[in-house]
């Protein structure tokens, strides 16, 4: 085993069809009966509405009244996971639905009040949890389709190991929605008679919902340890937008990376909880992957989606809880729904709940875009070491001196091998020159600036956001001089592919819930552009998409930095938004109310700091609640080394009420605080564009805004993004 600190599981919470809490899930595993029925929470306008789903029996919580269903599911499971224990100081949440179910209802009846869409964004789910628990550190949302929760667990483990948090609430939540229900139906992936994983007559998945969360920490001292999160592995098929690689190539990579991360041989694994959706393609590819990883010594294995349904982004969280229950109680869960085993698969699942001692279990989660994630849990040691984790050995428990604020300076600066941006003026050169000429670069990116990045056949089905992102990614890959694809792809987008979402719902409503476009459904998932980038560049590297409002770019940079800190040789970080005429004004009324609506974004090809000349980029922190002021205070020591502080203030954000801004104003002379959104325009990922301009500025020694170019003798800029939470990065040369 490596010397790095173990990540302990000290809490868990769950809700899914048939189980409202962990105890009920444990009973369900012992007596597995699927609860698949036609949905009662979705309007049924068409015979297809009679298809069975796995609907959770949500208990209404007073605090959650009026919130969309995903938010309520998340709060319920998170409250159980945290319990009466110490509060988390960071959250990593996987979600693909956010407030879409409420948005669908409002759009269908033509509601145009933006108040009806306040909880649409994926970020709002985690922000509600952050408010409930007073979370001061990073509040991250991962959206990688059906692997979201498992990827979230991986990011949470990396945060803890980097010393950026003490206690992370991590998992996933998704509710039933018409978008996902009809989307999977139109892809002919929904089984008319319920999910039958590994069955010879399997005909698809049962769309489900729920939430599953773990509390993870490196130095537990207040709660018993339930298990150890021993390792995680991420990969991308880079094969097809929805279909898995037929040989399970990406799945093999993810499992092997998780085993290597855990320092375990395949034979150490006693049970595998399969992704096992019950679609013909997934189960065949996953079975091939299992044979490659475990060869003749197959562990006990089963898919539990015949019991819980497929809760999409929540699946990895629910199955993490199932895996830990299996470990704790020595219980092998049954492959519910299986009648006639598909002998051609060559694997043999657990047919009925079986007692067996286990020391390590592995859980698979795969998603659209070929996004694969694998997590491994080991049994809790008899008495986990009560002493602080090795990282802090020899030091005073940092919690005592910092008041629960983690150091946050643990991440290394990264060298920028290439950067690019897209604005209304075009690329980086055009944008830079416009700014030098005192011209605004606000507005929509002209088609000509991004339409030629990829071959016409490659982009023929793609709308605006994936095309913008592909152009940015291709530009920095080429300019970096690296001939190998990036070893991590991390994408940030607050709103995801809105044109695809709008088109899918428009066609669905117009046809009385009968027809819509499978292509638009596939394209509507937040991680679709990241999957396209992986396909274009041929990268099977970890592929993450962060969706957290203005913090999306900062979080993508954080994910890229964490992967480089743990050994990746390069990271492609992209953040962008695409304006959509109907939805953008509803979701972001303040931004749409600006004189000139804007979109675009930026990309960076980052490598470890190898001493070569060039600019550097470093993630410094994220804070909310009183953690935002604490972040400014923590930065107070380094601020004098910066020539200026470049601040992003989203339209509609009231600075006068922002205590972190008040603290910044106390620390600094006004002339060194520079705003950029008047020049660059207002959109959620414009912070990435500002960073690309800052990179150019430190290289040239001058900042081209606000009024008179500012000289940068130290060639060092601090970038702060304000909003519901504060993020900080620095750029220097």
């Amino acid at each position: 085993m490596s010397a790095r600190p173990p990540v302990y599981v000290t809490g868990m919470g769950v809700i899914c069809a048939g189980a409202n809490h962990v105890g009920e899930l444990r009973d369900l595993l012992a007596h597995p009966v699927a609860h698949f029925h036609p949905p009662t929470v979705l309007p049924i306008k068409h015979p297809s509405g009679e298809l069975p789903v796995a609907q959770a029996a949500l208990i209404e919580a007073g605090e959650a009244a009026g919130l969309p269903r995903t938010h309520r599911l998340a709060l319920m499971a998170a409250r159980e996971a945290v319990g009466a224990g110490p509060l988390p100081d960071a959250i990593v949440l996987g979600s693909t639905t956010g407030g879409i179910a409420a948005t669908e209802s409002a759009l269908e009846v033509g509601i145009t009040s933006p108040e009806a869409f306040r909880c649409h964004g994926l970020d709002t789910v985690a922000l509600h949890l952050a408010k409930a628990f007073g979370v001061r550190g990073p509040v991250i949302t991962i959206s990688t389709a059906c692997s979201s929760a498992a990827v979230a667990l991986s990011v949470a483990a990396a945060l803890l190991r980097a010393g950026l948090a003490w206690r992370v609430l991590a998992g996933g939540a998704d509710s039933l929605s018409r978008l996902t229900f009809h989307g999977f139906r139109q892809l002919q992936l929904v089984a008319a008679n319920g999910c039958m994983p590994l069955d010879a007559n399997r005909a698809g998945m049962t769309v489900g919902e729920g939430a599953g969360f773990l509390v993870l920490e490196t130095a537990p001292d207040e709660r018993p340890v339930l298990a150890v999160l021993a390792g995680t592995g991420l990969s991308c098929d880079a094969y097809h937008v929805t279909r898995p690689h037929p040989e399970g190539k990406g799945a093999v990579l993810a499992m092997r990376r998780a085993l290597a991360d855990a320092g375990l041989e395949p034979r150490a694994i006693g049970y595998v909880n399969l992704h096992g959706t019950g679609t013909p393609d997934n189960d065949a590819a996953e079975a091939r992957a299992m044979k490659q990883v475990f060869s003749d010594a197959q562990p006990a294995l089963s898919s539990t989606k015949g019991l819980t349904g497929h809760a999409l982004a929540a699946a990895g969280g629910i199955e993490a809880v199932i895996s830990i229950l299996a470990l704790r109680d020595g219980l092998l869960p049954a492959n519910t729904g299986l009648e006639t085993l598909d002998a051609s698969l060559g694997i043999s699942p657990v047919r009925a709940p079986t007692q067996a001692p286990l020391s390590a279990v592995l859980s698979n989660s795969f998603g659209f875009g070929g996004n694969n994630a694998c997590v491994i849990f080991e049994k809790a040691p008899p008495s986990p070491s009560p002493h602080p984790s090795p990282r802090y050995a020899g030091r005073e428990d940092p919690r005592a001196t910092t008041g629960e604020v983690p150091p946050g300076s643990g991440l290394p600066a990264l060298r920028i091998a290439a950067s690019a941006c897209l604005t209304a003026r075009g690329g980086l050169d055009e944008t830079w020159n416009a700014l030098l000429s005192r011209e605004s670069t606000a507005g929509l990116v002209p088609d000509a600036a991004f339409s030629k990045a990829a071959p016409a056949t490659f982009v023929r089905r793609l709308k605006r956001l994936p095309r913008l992102m592909l152009a940015l990614a291709q530009t920095v890959q080429t300019a970096s001089g690296w001939t190998t694809p990036p070893e991590t792809i991390a994408v940030g987008t607050a709103w995801g592919p809105l044109a695809e979402t709008q088109e899918f719902l428009r066609k669905l409503f117009e046809s009385g819930d009968q027809f819509s476009s499978p292509m638009d459904f596939i394209g509507s998932v937040h991680n679709a552009p990241a999957g396209q980038i992986a396909l274009l560049l041929g990268s099977q590297a970890p592929n993450l998409t962060c969706s957290a409002g203005e913090r999306s770019f900062s979080q993508a940079l954080l994910c890229g930095s964490l992967h480089i800190a743990s050994g990746a040789g390069s990271a492609l970080v992209v953040a962008a938004e695409a304006f959509e005429p109907r939805l953008s004004p509803l979701f972001e009324p303040e931004v749409a109310g600006t004189p000139l609506v804007s979109d675009g974004g930026a990309a960076f090809f980052l490598v470890p700091d190898d001493g070569a000349p060039g600019a550097r980029l470093r993630w410094l922190g994220e804070g909310g609640n009183d953690g935002a002021v604490a972040l400014v205070d923590r930065l107070a020591g380094v601020i004098p080394h910066h020539d200026a502080v470049v601040v992003g203030i989203p339209a509609g954000h009231t600075l006068a009420k922002d205590p972190a801004y008040a603290r910044l104003s106390q620390l600094l002379p006004p002339a060194t605080i520079v705003t950029y959104r008047d020049q660059l325009g207002q959109h959620a990922s414009v912070g990435a564009t500002a960073a690309a301009i800052a990179v150019r500025a430190v290289a040239e020694g001058r900042l081209p805004f606000p009024d008179v170019p500012i000289a940068l003798p130290h060639r060092r800029l601090l970038l702060l993004e304000f909003g519901p939470r504060l993020t900080a990065i620095e750029v220097f040369a």
Partner: protein, 91 residues
Amino acid sequence: MTAQTDPLVPELARKLVDTLGLDLVPETVDPAAPLFGAGLGIDSIDLLELVVLIEKDYGVKIDNRAAGVEAFASLNALAAFIRQRRPASPV
């Protein structure tokens, strides 16, 4: 098929090119060539898009693999498939 071109064929060719965003002139699509796995660059997602289109515009379902193989053998085959199954077809 008769030697005469079924008028459904050019109509389908136009819909195919429009819906899938193919960089082609509809008249150049060979009505006898396979739609899938040949030179058109059409993949399984495109076929699902066509499945929806054909049900929406012609009321004909393609909901199993065998039907898909038959329907997507070529534009001619697709036209014939639709004509055979179209409800109250105005032949």
